[in-house]
């Protein structure tokens, strides 16, 4: 009593705005009484801080206090702004404030924060139909990928919505989950209640050939086949052109068309096939010369359209056309077309102008002749002198792939006759070790016409390179990540075009491709002689077109696996797999590098890595398992595989290897476990399918298995085991 009195006295001695704020924090009834006493509502600047207090105070959860404040908010809620309003309403219970929320939504129908809360509460209150409707409105109003995706996911907890039924499936060579979420929202906006199936990425041939696959099981009425040209034809990234590209492309297109035909014949679905488009094709004249990548890709698209014209219910979606039209005012701005006779929208004018610049440079013959490159943090991530040849970032997954793709872009320039040179401050032995032996290095020693790996000034090195190659210093382009080096070269050699690479290496390739300075109207035979013979990194057979069974297809992939212990070169990758693999991971035990090193040092632990390659290329280290010998048992501690090789039976090869290890150790039985997470449900029956017996099952779904040894765990017949 005494305390409350002193509170009250203290409050009365404060200015009005502060009085309200304190009241809002301490006593809701007092707050409302004070507002009533004021007669008119204070301005938003006075009320705002008080309402923020209200939002942060704990009594909003208490029933007794809620009634007067709810009544107040019903009348004056529009005074509240954005987050204050959302925070406040989030803190109340769904039951008390749902009506209030609906009222606010009538006035702000596109308020993303309110829609988010409304969807949550509708679900909590069991109004699933309303929840669906709020999620659709949220996805359309907000429009960001993150929101569209989370709205899509939130529907999993709801009963299906009413609406016109549609089963739609995505078969893609790349990640289309977010595209599927956008598609779901747009379909709902026009009254569909879609069921969406997204096949694991890059499994198109498997889905099509397996009559029990998801695409058939889903009963899809519409199948989107989204195969990226850059996945189908890695030659595009390397800058391959002419007949080499034409021939590889024709085979790939025929295989794709055969897959689509098989799908159309085995289902009643309408099949919409993305046309082929490559992010690597530029706007310069060389890519659109008769043998250029753009021209060849156009031929391939004509070939695809012609092959699919004979397939009932198959249609091609012109991707370039569809994406150019995205958003009003990009490719076409109708108002400017009517008023000013502009047939091209202002949105595309800068990129057209940039395309003209490229042709101008080519026509004038003023292209640069030589690209000079730094090494550390330019051709690879990290510093070889500090991180060592195995510690640098360079590979086929991120981080590392951004440097590899940058190197491929440079190789593409070399293929059209641009000379390459190195200018790096390094110990030559450290750098050459990487250039000669790193498995993911694209540019080997013979790619470079001049090499300066030393501790000299980069300015002097550039002068030396121009002299050695007998070209003008103004025909050099110098790329480096280091701002100090770049500034020095700009200052002392302004004739050299100096390009400082951006901080984010994901932008390296785009920075290179944006340079208009390497254009020509055509590649001459002279240019080609200069360039080293391109080694085809793979040979594509026409097998896929003719093999109809899954086994036949897998056989045709020519999968080779190499099983090995963990070594210094693979340790980092193993730790990465342990911590990043979610889907194909039986126990999801996360270990640090120190943990794995301790396991390696313990003779009872057996760590096995698996590298896989097939005729399309090297997948690298994609699977890992660890087992522990405990008396006469062999317990499988970790068993996981990267999702990019799912569906090829590689896991069976790894399991067979573990069994052999266990038997060699004299184990009488193998123990294993499936520990469920939110993300690994696809492997819950993995051990059941490989002859293990269930030993126990726990309430959380964890299942423990046992296999008596010796046992037959068959090696998949289509996989060849390689020894190192």
């Amino acid at each position: 009593m005494l305390k409350s009195q002193s509170n009250s006295e203290m409050v009365q001695s404060l200015p009005d705005a502060l009085q309200l704020e304190v009241a809002a924090a301490l006593d809701p009834a007092d707050f409302v009484a004070r507002l009533a006493a004021l007669g008119t509502l204070p301005s938003a600047s006075v009320l705002g801080p008080a309402l923020a207090r209200l939002a942060a105070s704990s009594w909003v959860r208490e029933d007794a206090a809620r009634e007067p404040i709810l009544a107040f908010l019903m009348r004056h809620g529009s005074m509240l702004r954005g987050r204050v309003r959302t925070d406040l309403i989030r803190r109340m219970s769904a039951h008390s404030a749902y009506e209030l929320l609906l009222q606010w939504l009538q006035n702000s129908p596109d308020d993303g924060d309110l829609l988010r809360v409304a969807a949550d509460w509708a679900r909590e209150l069991g109004h699933d139909e309303e929840a669906h409707s709020f999620l659709t409105r949220l996805a359309l109003a907000d429009g960001t990928a993150a929101t569209v995706q989370s709205a899509f996911r939130a529907r999993e907890a709801l009963a299906p919505a009413a609406g016109r039924d549609l089963s739609i499936a995505f078969l893609a060579s790349f990640t289309v989950d977010v595209l599927a979420a956008y598609t779901d929202a747009e379909l709902r906006a026009v009254g569909f209640a879609p069921r969406v199936y997204v096949a694991p990425f890059n499994t198109v041939p498997l889905e099509v050939r397996n009559s029990a696959s998801g695409v058939y099981a889903s009963g899809a009425e519409l199948v989107i086949v989204a195969v990226a040209a850059d996945d189908l034809l890695p030659e595009l990234a390397d800058g391959q052109r002419g007949n080499a590209l034409r021939e590889a492309g024709a085979r790939a297109v025929d295989e794709l068309a055969a897959d689509v035909r098989m799908l159309a014949e085995r289902s009643s679905a309408t099949v919409l096939v993305h046309s082929l488009d490559s992010v690597f094709i530029g706007t310069g004249p060389l890519d659109w010369a008769p043998d250029g990548r753009g021209s060849v890709l156009r031929e391939l698209n004509a070939r695809l359209a012609s092959a699919l014209s004979a397939v009932p219910r198959a249609r091609v979606l012109d991707l370039a056309h569809a994406t150019a039209r995205r958003g009003a005012g990009r490719a076409d701005n109708p108002k400017m077309r009517y008023l000013a006779g502009m047939r091209l929208g202002d949105g595309v004018l800068p990129s057209l102008a940039q395309a003209y610049v490229r042709t101008a440079i080519a026509a004038k013959g003023i292209a640069k002749k030589c690209l000079v490159l730094d090494l550390d943090n330019t051709l690879w991530g990290g510093i070889v002198g500090e991180d060592g040849p195995t510690g640098i970032r360079l590979g086929d997954t991120a981080p590392g792939i951004e440097y590899r793709e940058f190197q491929q872009g440079i190789a593409a320039l070399s293929r059209r006759g641009v000379l390459l040179a190195l200018n790096s401050k390094n110990n030559p032995d450290d750098a050459l070790e990487v250039i000669r032996n790193h498995p993911w290095m694209v540019l080997r020693e013979n790619a470079f016409s001049a090499v300066r790996i030393n501790w000299e000034s980069k300015v002097e090195n550039l002068r030396g390179i121009a002299a050695e190659l007998n070209i003008g210093i103004d025909s050099l382009v110098f790329m480096d990540d280091n701002p100090v080096e770049c500034e020095r070269v700009r200052q002392f050699l302004p004739e050299v075009l100096t390009v400082q690479l951006p901080r984010d290496p994901s932008l390296y390739r785009a920075t290179l491709d944006a340079l208009p300075w390497f254009e020509a109207l055509d590649v001459t035979s002279e240019d080609l002689q200069r360039v080293e013979q391109y080694r085809a990194n793979r040979s594509r057979d026409a097998l896929r077109t003719t093999t109809e069974s899954v086994e036949g297809y897998l056989q045709s992939l020519e999968i080779h696996v190499e099983l090995a212990a963990v070594g210094p070169e693979s340790l980092a990758r193993v730790v990465q797999l342990l911590n990043r693999t979610n889907q194909f991971n039986l126990t999801t035990r996360r270990y640090t590098q120190a943990d794995v090193e301790a396991q390696l040092a313990n003779p009872d632990w057996h760590l096995v890595t698996l590298r896989a390659r097939d005729r399309f290329g090297d997948h690298g280290l994609v699977a890992f398992a660890a087992g522990v010998t405990e008396d006469d048992t062999f317990r499988v501690d970790s068993f996981l595989m990267s999702c990019r090789v799912i569906g090829q039976g590689i896991e069976a090869a790894l399991l067979a290897e573990l069994r052999e290890k266990a038997e060699l150790r004299g184990a009488q039985r193998m123990l294993s476990a499936f520990i469920p997470t939110k993300k690994n449900m696809q492997v819950r029956e993995f051990y059941d399918g490989h002859g293990f017996q269930v030993a126990s099952r726990e309430a959380d779904g964890s299942t423990y298995y046992e296999l008596a040894l010796p046992a037959a765990l068959p090696w998949p017949t289509w996989i060849t085991k390689e020894s190192k």
Partner: protein, 76 residues
């Protein structure tokens, strides 16, 4: 400037006040690999930065996200 918690709350569809510095994929059910990428996209949009892949993969908690933003010169 918007607080990182507000951005993450939107991405993972959880109340911002439930996010603590040690909140991570282990404690937030909706924080899977795809949502992780969406988070990076949203942070880049919100703060006008471009995050290197090596950094993007490293941030596995709310605290780590804030640390990352600081190294990219973002304050809020």
């Amino acid at each position: 400037m918007t607080a990182p918690e507000q951005v993450l709350a939107r991405v993972f569809n959880v109340p911002a006040q439930d996010l603590r510095d040690d909140s991570s994929p282990d404690s937030i059910a909706t924080w899977d690999s795809l949502a992780h990428m969406m988070m990076i996209v949203e942070l880049e949009r919100e703060y006008g930065i471009s995050v290197a892949p090596a950094d993007a993969l490293d941030v596995k908690s709310v605290g780590a996200v804030k640390q990352l933003l600081t190294t990219y010169g973002v304050s809020w």
